[in-house]
Structure formats: C-alpha cells, structure tokens
C-alpha cells in the first residue's frame, strides 16, 4: 500500500452472508489486504479489487446475483465496474 492514492477498498459486514464473498475476494485477489475489524471486514488493494460471481457461487453452493453484494455492503472507495459476472473496483 505504498501509493495511498491508488488504494481501493471494499468494506462488508462480518456475517454469515458476507463470508463467501470475502473468501472469494481472498481467492481472486491474492495481493489484497484483508482486515477483520469489529463487525466488519475491510478489503484493500492497490489499484484493483475484483469480486467474481463464479468464485462466490462456488463458495456459496448456489446461484448468486452480483447485486446481492449490496445487502452487506458498508462502504467502498473507487470507480465501480459492475456487470452480471463481476463487481470490480478501480480508479479510472
């Protein structure tokens, strides 16, 4: 996280529903820094953070709509590119 300006982050509630998403972020973004804070989980990365629908579905065991992410979303920083298959945060 040397270049602070470049950092994107995603913060989700720390609960049963968000866990498969957090694990998916961990799997798909090996460089992401994941901090467990009281009641929430903060995922930071330099430049780009990706939530992949397929990975979440594998962890979750059922079909998953990317928009379900918003149910447990607390905050995020970055420009968002969202479609049916992914939720990507980066700075344009």
């Amino acid at each position: 996280m040397s270049n602070k300006k470049n950092t994107v982050f995603l913060i989700l509630q720390d609960n049963e529903d968000a866990r498969p998403i957090i694990e998916a972020v961990e799997q798909d973004n090996p460089d992401a820094n994941i901090q467990y804070q009281p009641g929430m989980v903060r995922m930071e990365a330099a430049g780009r953070l990706l939530v992949n629908r397929v990975t979440v579905e594998e962890n979750l065991g059922r079909e998953w709509d990317v928009q379900e992410l918003h149910l447990n979303l607390i905050s995020l920083a970055g420009n968002i590119d969202e479609d049916e298959d992914k939720f990507e945060i980066s700075w344009h």
Partner: protein, 332 residues
C-alpha cells in the same frame, strides 16, 4: 455533553467446533453446512450388532467395496443442510404450484393435441413408478451409507424423488379432470406392457443390491443420467414442438432438479475415483455394467417416445453420460 464511542473488538475464543477445527483449521469460522453435516454420525462404541445383519456394525465402512481414507472427503457442492435445502425447495415448490394452478385455471390442456396427450400418458406418467423406485433406492443408500454427508445427500435426494413422483401423478390427474384412468393405465403398462418390463426388471434388481455404492452408481449416476436427459429434456422438447409446451411447464422442476443434481454426482464421482485405482476400477465396472443393462432396458421406451430416432437419441444420451463421467475420472 459529548459521547465518545469507542469500538472494542471481542474475538471469540474459538471459531468452530473441535471436529471442524481438526478438519479445516482454526482460522476461519465454520459454515452452516460444515456444522450441520460433518462428523454427526457415531463411529465407535456400537455395542451390539443389528439382529438383521450380524456381519456388520450399524454404521460400517465394509458395507461397500469402495474404500475411502476419509469418508468425509466428499462435500456437497450445493452445501445442502436442512435449512438451505428446504428453503431452496420451498421456492421451487411455489413456482411449480403456480404453474399447476395456471394450467388448471386456463384449461391449457384443452389446447394440447390428443396425440401429445397420449404420448404423455404412455411415456411420462409411468415414470411415477420409476420415481418411487428412486425414492426407495435413495432411502436404502441413506440407511446403509457411511458418513452424515452421504446420509443427508441421500435423504434429500429421496425426498426430491417422492416430490417428483407426486408431480407426475398430478399431471396424470390434470389430463383427465381428476379421474384416475390415466394413472391406472400407467400402472398397468408398468406392470404388463412389454416395453416397460426390461426397465422394471432392472429397477427391481437394484432394490436388492448389497453394495450401497453400487446402488448409488446404478440409480443416481446411470439411470438418472439416462432418463432425465432422454425423457424430461429431449422428449419434452419434441412434445413442445408438437404443441405440448404445457407439459414442459409442469415438469420444469425435474429439468432444474437434474441440472442441480449432476453437480453433486460429478463431485462424488471425482472424489471417489481420485482416492485410489481400486475405487476407480470398481466405479468403472459398475458404470459399464449398469449403462449396458439400462440402455438396453430403455431402448423400447426410447423407440416409443421418438419413433425411428429413438435408438439414436438413446445412444447420444449414453455417450453424453459416459463423456461426463470420464471427465470426473471414471472411464469405461
């Protein structure tokens, strides 16, 4: 007055039960699926052997020739435990109920050509007996298997099959305005018509298989892998072209169910075949034995369903099944 809110982090002493910590480590909280399914079945101190089976303990790994180092190495990719299973099925049931009510309310069957209705009577309705048999077989698997991951997946499957038998029955009742003529005729066909006897014979032989894993292969891998693509998918598409899209509406559950079920049978085939060459040889032997037997048994039904294309359709479905299993490491 100012209020200072400071966040205080309380970390739990442990994140999972001991049995789950030993399996998955103590870094992550256990999922509901893991808590509900792993290590629930007793493994020691069985005291007396059951009167009906003196050679085995009540839970016994030697009830199948398949050998696994750890029977819990199979995990259901759908992660079904009681909660997630009933929620998923309740949603599907709502859709199915709505479809049945819609067909009934709008009298949609009146618009279906008589030839299509007759094809449904001949081919689809006798399948309620096949579904009931599948329920029996999966109850047997639940009874004999080792490990609560297997018994839960077996019981969920058994209940699904009972549900599907009921859907088929309801289609039969709808066809006749709640008279049971179609159901009686289908029972008669199942018991006496020559085209069904090969399948009935094979299924009755499955009832008395000793090895529960062979039953798993015969029923859930092979028989379902042939019948569902052949009749609920290909045959229904043919009916739809001939004006019977109403039927497809009522069997939507079967189609969805099969796509979902393939996920766990694939996972199971993969895990078991990977374990050892002996397991792989056993699986391959059973798959070969039952695909040969059941494809012969299904041929007259395929011919009745598709006419001259019947044999061809069956060969294609069989090739798809063997191809899919080969990808999981079970080559025939």
């Amino acid at each position: 007055m100012s209020i200072e809110i400071s966040a205080k982090s309380i970390t739990p002493v442990r994140l999972a039960y001991g049995n789950l910590e030993r399996r998955f480590g103590d870094k992550k909280p256990a999922s509901r699926y893991q808590e509900a399914v792993y290590d629930i079945q007793p493994t020691t101190n069985f005291q007396y052997r059951p009167l009906w089976d003196k050679n085995h303990d009540i839970y016994d790994v030697s009830k199948t020739a398949i050998v696994m180092e750890d029977w819990y190495s199979f995990a259901d990719p759908r992660q079904y435990y009681y909660g997630s299973y009933t929620i998923a099925r309740a949603k599907q049931q709502e859709v199915a109920e709505h479809n049945f009510a819609f067909v009934d309310k709008r009298d949609l069957f009146d618009a279906v050509p008589e030839a299509v209705k007759q094809a449904v009577r001949n081919i689809l309705i006798p399948l309620r007996h096949v579904e009931w048999a599948a329920n029996m077989n999966n109850c047997q698997i639940t009874d004999e298997c080792y490990g609560s991951n297997f018994s839960s997946v077996g019981m969920f499957n058994a209940m699904d099959r009972l549900g599907m038998a009921q859907y088929v029955t309801r289609i039969g009742l709808l066809l006749d305005g709640n008279e049971e003529a179609t159901l009686d005729a289908a029972k008669q066909a199942w018991m006496e018509a020559p085209q069904w006897q090969g399948l009935r014979h094979a299924i009755e032989d499955m009832f008395v298989l000793d090895d529960w894993f062979e039953l798993m292969v015969a029923q859930n891998f092979v028989l379902d892998g042939l019948i569902f693509p052949l009749l609920y998918d290909r045959f229904e598409k043919k009916l739809t072209q001939e004006g019977g899209s109403t039927i497809a509406m009522l069997t939507e559950f079967m189609d969805d169910w099969y796509k979902e079920t393939v996920r766990w049978t694939n996972a199971l085939a993969k895990v078991t075949a990977k374990e050892s060459a002996e397991n792989q040889a056993l699986l391959s032997g059973w798959v070969a034995k039952w695909t040969d037997r059941l494809s012969v048994a299904l041929e007259p039904i395929a011919i009745e369903a598709f006419g001259d294309d019947g044999a061809n359709e069956l060969v294609e479905v069989k090739a798809e099944l063997l191809d899919r299993l080969a990808k999981q490491g079970v080559t025939v």
